[in-house]
């Protein structure tokens, strides 16, 4: 049974049964505006000490500034997403109608796509230059949702959407699934909620899991990539629970010293360009600085997640693998530069 509004769907008459009724997009847009209203509500309640949430004037305004740029660049670059998936859809293997079951299917598959998009976004510097913007705040509240990349369409990871369209899901159905995914992720950017019921924490992404994801503590780095279903992290070995004895330090390994939205949005690209333009590098080194994990260095003084974890283990007296990187003091210097 197709999921269409009473009276039928004009769009699907024109674009075929795979096209969701536009009413769902209007509902998603209204939901987005309503969710945005939760930000001032959280701020009001937090400032009255009724909620556990910390807001900082400069940080919050920087989030809004970055959001304006993100919306603008999404507006002018979204054709890259729609162009790619539409092209793939024209060569589709199947005609999948838009029904409740096909939506659940595309939602689950898109959530898996999101997991890998997110994981690659953390593990390779070119993609991290785009996604790292979202992690650059040292606060974690609902306004952190606003701090989004300006270059997500430009990085190339939109190609991960192509397989779904090629299978036969309509580009609009894929976009709707992703919209619902992002709407879900709004509420998990908060310190206000401690833990959800155990079954919920096991199955779904929660504020607790996502606090860990935003942590710069070595233990928490590069974990909990899930959008909605935590099953992907459990399946692919990236799940890390929040520990009561280790409060999350939000932000980057090397934090920013600016609230300027342009600097926030582009800082990693500029740092990467500086590294790539060094005259004392081989092309292999340059590939490392471009595609290697954030913190990779050609001289071996890595400040990658693995190296930082090895440092921490070294300090705690826990044996670590020998290939994690250079000496501890070297790494401290590398992390600072």
């Amino acid at each position: 049974m197709p999921m269409h509004a009473p009276g039928g769907c004009n769009a699907c008459k024109r674009y075929g049964p795979g096209m969701p009724d536009p009413i769902y997009f209007r509902a998603a847009a209204i939901a987005q505006v309503l969710l945005l209203l939760l930000i001032p509500l959280e701020l009001l309640l937090a400032s009255g000490a009724r909620l556990r949430a910390e807001y900082d004037t400069h940080d919050t305004l920087a989030n809004v500034g970055v959001s304006v740029g993100s919306v603008f660049f999404w507006g002018i670059l979204s054709w890259l997403f729609f162009g790619g998936v539409t092209l793939a859809y024209t060569h589709r293997l199947f005609d999948i109608p838009f029904t409740w079951w096909s939506f659940l299917l595309v939602f689950a598959l898109d959530d898996c796509r999101y997991y890998w998009w997110h994981r690659i976004g953390h593990r390779s510097r070119w993609f991290w230059a785009s996604h790292g913007v979202h992690h650059s705040s040292q606060h974690f509240n609902l306004s952190t949702n606003l701090r989004q990349s300006w270059t997500s369409e430009f990085s190339g990871l939109v190609l991960l959407n192509v397989p779904l369209a090629w299978i036969g899901f309509h580009p609009a159905a894929i976009a709707l699934a992703f919209s619902v995914n992002l709407l879900y992720q709004f509420w998990i950017h908060t310190e206000t909620i401690d833990k959800m019921p155990r079954w919920f924490e096991w199955l779904l992404n929660t504020p607790s899991h996502h606090r860990v994801h935003h942590g710069s503590n070595p233990r928490y780095l590069d974990s909990n990539y899930a959008g909605v279903f935590m099953i992907w992290d459990r399946l692919f070995g990236s799940f890390v629970p929040e520990q009561a004895d280790e409060p999350v330090r939000y932000g980057l390994v090397k934090n920013l010293g600016t609230f300027n939205p342009v600097r926030i949005a582009l800082h990693e690209y500029v740092a990467m360009a500086r590294d790539l333009l060094r005259s004392d590098l081989t092309w292999k080194h340059r590939l490392g600085y471009f595609f290697g994990p954030p913190g990779w260095r050609h001289d071996g003084r890595h400040a990658t997640t693995e190296a930082l974890r090895a440092d921490e283990a070294h300090r705690r007296g826990v044996p670590v693998a020998a290939d994690a990187g250079g000496a501890t003091s070297d790494r401290l210097a590398a992390a600072s530069s």
Binding site: T57, S67, L146, G251, G257, R274, A333, S336
Partner: protein, 141 residues
């Protein structure tokens, strides 16, 4: 195009509303360093087991920490309500200058953390740190 304009307008209205609440509720950026011990403790959260004596700025907004005699300098700088730590190495400081008599102004070759200011009223301490910081610049300049 109208959807893009509406989306941007919603963000702007949201920003104005948040700013109004932040002002109304006096959510300030009021953190200050209480002393050298606190500065070292905050710095060691980012750089564990790094020893050093700290000089806290007179406005309590930053501190300089002696990491290696004659070598690296630790910088702790207020960033809103948080503290940023950085171990300054030779070549990292693009320029050092004195501003308004007592303020050491640092510029970094770093797009994400372009500058810092440290107010040190004591002339001897200021001169000592100025020389240390200038040495970080001159080695690679």
């Amino acid at each position: 195009m109208s959807e893009l304009a509406i989306s941007i307008a919603i963000n702007v209205v949201l920003g104005v509303a948040l700013l109004a609440i932040l002002r109304l509720k006096r959510v300030g950026d009021t953190v200050r360093l209480a002393g050298a011990a606190e500065a070292v403790e905050l710095f060691s959260q980012r750089f564990p087991a790094v020893p050093g004596d700290a000089t806290v700025a007179d406005d309590g907004r930053s501190a300089l920490i002696d990491l290696d005699p004659g070598g690296r300098v630790g910088l702790l700088q207020r960033h809103g309500r948080r503290w940023n730590a950085r171990a300054l190495e030779p070549g990292e400081v693009a320029s050092v200058e004195i501003k308004e008599t007592a303020i050491i102004k640092l510029k970094f070759a770093d797009f994400g953390w372009p500058h810092a200011q440290i107010r040190i009223d004591d002339a001897d301490a200021r001169t000592r740190w100025l020389q240390r910081l200038q040495a970080l610049r001159s080695r690679h300049a």
